[in-house]
């Protein structure tokens, strides 16, 4: 599709509408890659299952191949040993991609301030949404997902 991304006067209206439309489509078909390492995985299971049901927000299907995923859910403590693996997975994902830091260990390192853990995954890769909590309650996670959807909706879309 040929679209003038420069936003010239005669196409400005058209591109901004197109952005909105693509954003709308993208935000309800979030395919996540759960990078689960630790305790937060238990809450991730709860979120994914019938009680809280993440499928209501169009994010029901986890893809375990980075090539097929849009959103990287980093769930649980990232240690110095696993950080290179996380970076590799992130680099293998296709654009456009987003990253969600799930739980306080991924946000800041939490109370694991020690030789073995990374002080927040933003030392390794860029993060879009931070969901705090140790582990976050399922409601918090859903709130974070809605915030991510808003972000996807309102950003400039690459086609």
């Amino acid at each position: 599709m040929e679209v003038d991304k420069g936003g010239g006067t005669e196409f400005g209206f058209f591109t901004s509408r197109l952005d909105k439309m693509i954003g709308w489509a993208r935000k309800f078909s979030v395919f996540q890659y759960p990078f689960i390492t630790a305790c937060c995985g238990m809450e991730y299971m709860s979120v994914a299952c019938a009680h809280y049901d993440i499928d209501r927000f169009g994010a029901g299907l986890p893809r375990f191949s980075p090539r097929q995923a849009d959103v990287l859910f980093v769930v649980g403590t990232i240690s110095q040993k696993i950080a290179p693996v996380l970076l590799t997975v992130y680099e293998q994902m296709c654009s456009p991609k987003w990253v969600v830091a799930f739980g306080v260990c991924t946000c800041t390192g939490g109370f694991y301030d020690d030789y073995a853990t990374v002080r927040g995954i933003d030392h390794v890769l860029p993060v879009d949404i931070y969901i705090p909590g140790c582990p976050p309650r399922p409601e918090t996670v859903l709130n974070g997902l809605i915030m991510l959807q808003e972000k996807i909706q309102n950003q400039k879309q690459e086609v």
Binding site: Q80, K81, A83, P84, V85, L87, T88, E91, D113, D114, Y115, A116, V118, R119, H123, V124
Partner: protein, 166 residues
């Protein structure tokens, strides 16, 4: 505790290894033996094979860094006997200059990983261990974190992704 009230295990060890036992007590009802480094392999085999003891489990193997005390380290073994439902703790003092103990891998298979972990965390070597490398940390890590002189927050540089071709 007076010698007369010792358990069967302690009495037997006293009989067999009397000259190499450094200390022996049963505080809090837990049998504890401190033996010299040279005797540990033989003692472990004795505990495992003696028909009156049959300590068939190596329940735990770890170390303690006493830092100011000499000798600095202590390797701690916990044995369990399923048949007689008894436990014994064996401790081996190890000096800082030559931290090396005989490996128990010929006797128990789990000793392999437990000794690798102890090497990883304390830098205590195990003689005759088939594959003594780090268990929990990565090969690029410098030092041994559970030693008292390693600060808890001392981070080391992140290692980049490895080249799969290399």
């Amino acid at each position: 505790m007076p010698e007369a009230e010792w358990s069967k295990t302690l009495k037997k060890i006293q009989e067999q290894f009397g000259d190499r036992v450094i200390e022996m007590h049963a505080q809090l009802g837990q049998d504890t033996v401190v033996v010299s480094k040279a005797a540990i392999f033989e003692l472990a085999r004795f505990l495992r094979d003696d028909p009156d003891l049959k300590y068939n489990y190596l329940m735990d193997l770890t170390a303690v860094d006493h830092f100011t005390r000499k000798p600095r380290f202590e390797v701690v073994y916990h044995f369990l006997s399923l048949e007689y439902n008894a436990r014994v703790r064996v401790k081996v003092p190890v000096g800082e200059s030559d931290p090396e103990v005989e490996s128990l891998t010929p006797l128990w298979k789990i000793a392999n990983w437990l000794e690798r972990e102890t090497w990883d965390m304390f830098g205590i070597k195990f003689k005759n261990h088939p594959d003594l490398r780090r268990l929990l940390l990565y090969p690029e890590f410098q030092g041994h974190p559970l030693r008292k002189d390693y600060p808890v927050t001392k981070r080391q540089p992140l290692v980049g992704p490895k080249d799969p071709q290399a």
